[in-house]
């Protein structure tokens, strides 16, 4: 008899996000009722925990920030055509995702964007690579500047690079 998938096997597959993405917003509504102003922090914490389990299976090859982020967004989140600007003041990085997996439609009664989870995930993967000595730079979340959830045309995730050259 077949045993269940391992996480390594799951990594080789893609899953369709539509229903779960909608469910994310219903969970956020629940969080707004129970956790009030901590929702963004809790969403980023979710992303960090996802990252901590995800890296047990896969991490991108160490390389310069724009390339690494491109690979990470494409492989984990299925966003294959993100625009990445690493030339911002004070190491600011802007990732523009026109097809964010977590956001698609404006959601009026929700303040926090689902892609806060994405931001938490991406930054934590890089931090863990830095902690394991595979990178000499790290990333911290600045925030979700634009989001389709809030009615914008794109989701713009802001990070700040720490360390490196």
């Amino acid at each position: 008899m077949e045993t269940n998938y391992t996480r390594a096997e799951l990594f080789e597959h893609v899953a369709t996000m539509n229903q779960l993405r909608n469910t994310v917003y219903h969970v956020i509504r629940l969080m707004q009722r129970t956790s009030r102003d901590m929702v963004v922090d809790r969403l980023r914490a979710m992303g960090r925990r996802i990252a901590e389990t995800f890296v047990e299976t896969w991490t991108p090859k160490p390389q310069e920030p724009a390339r690494l982020l491109r690979v990470l967004y494409a492989t984990a989140l299925g966003s294959k055509r993100v625009k990445i600007d690493v030339g911002g003041p004070g190491g600011l990085v802007r990732v523009v995702d026109k097809k964010c997996a977590m956001c698609k439609y404006p959601v009026e009664d929700v303040d926090a964007a689902g892609c806060e989870i994405t931001a938490g995930f991406v930054a934590r993967v890089v931090q863990l690579m830095k902690e394991s000595g595979r990178l000499d730079w790290s990333l911290e979340v600045v925030g979700v500047d634009k989001s389709k959830t809030r009615g914008d045309q794109t989701c713009d995730h802001l990070y700040r690079i720490r360390g490196g050259d």
Binding site: M1, E2, T3, N4, Y5, T6, R7, E9, L10, F11, E12, H13, V14, A15, T16, M17, N18, Q19, L20, R21, N22, T23, V24, Y25, H26, V27, L30, M31, T34, S35, R42, M46, R49, I50, E52, T53, F54, E56, T57, W58, T75, A76, L77, G78, K80, R81, K99, A101, K104, I117, F121
Partner: protein, 446 residues
Amino acid sequence: MFKWLVGRIGKLIGRNMNALYYSLLYRELLREVVDAKRGDVNEAFAEFKRLGELGALDSAHRQESVLRYFPGEPLKLLEYMEVLWQVIFGMPMGEHEVVTQQFPGDEYPVVKYQIKRCPVCAGHGLSEHDVVDVSKVKDSPQLYACGIMGMLQTVANFILGIRGSDHKIVFSETACIARGDPYLEITCSIVPFERDEAQRSSASTLAGSLFSIEKVEDFLNRPMDNVKKVLEDVIEKNLSMTPNELLSHFENYEEDMVRVVGYLGVHLLNEYGGLVEKLLSNATIAKAAGYWFNSLKDFVRLFLPREVTEDYHRLFVELLEGLAPEGMVERFRGFNSFEFVTLVLEGCQMALENLGVDFEGLRENIWEELRESQADQEAWWFPDVVLSLLQELLTMSLKLFSLPVKLVVASQHAQVKTVAGSMRDLYEELKDHGDRILDILGELRD
């Protein structure tokens, strides 16, 4: 074909992400709900199922134009469970077993899907963040895949709603790999459901514009099974007995049964406005039809290749398998294929007699008839010897003609057979190329 197509299109139009990320995101959402319910796992599972339902409902409204093509009959819809699973997950259901249990007094059986590999809880318990503990959960209608149950349930019931069904399906998770069970078990119970007037009215408007694609697919996949099913339904509906009960009345009278096929065939033809009977009410036409029919009986062996009659004989036996008593099927299998055709023609002859053809009064052949009719006249048209010569010449030319006719019949039959046989191969080929095209479209879209 439909199942494959919907699965692939769902994947193409859906937003895809890595399945590992998906399962970890699911874990985190469930964990949030458990936290919101202050650690009460049972309550959290029920709530997460509800949130999954709401999430799927948002999508279902957007995808109504696709979902309306699914079957509106609950059991039939459950045959499409793999597609629903794939639409929701984007991953195939994989190895699974379907177990049905019919309880006394219940209209529908309970259908259980035992799925060997569950993408939602894959690897659960191995990481420090896998904190939702399912191992101690007992007697709960929902377990780790509760959110997915909610999604599946909503999509299924949304389809039943737009198709006007007066039932709904309740999905419960009755075994969970994360809890240590050998598989994920989804138990589907079909229960009556009263829809409001607005839903019924919108469903009935929609139903008129629907074509039942599942029937087309069934027919393409199992043509003989469907012919049998139609036959079974007709017999059960009109005679209130099973085909086996009906056909067992003919056991040991198999030859008569084949004659009945021919007999009923002619009478059915006559049902359309009584045309056959009207034509045969004219004595000359009835006589001509009688001679024509006798010639047909004589020439059927000449014009029909043995392979063709054997194929039809085989098809008939195949149709009876499972419908008729086994002994009867065996006796039919023992028939010679031409004997089979002859019996059908005997049945046709009996029907033609009913409708006015006097076979008893006919001469040995039409030439004898001509001779007799000329004998009544004052002057002979042709000397008897000329008529005999014409008769032999025509018979010889017909026999000569039988070879190309046989070739044409055999080749047409072979073409139909080849096309039918090739359909399956073609379907597989098309599926492969379709897969590649949809992959390329997916890449282009990204």
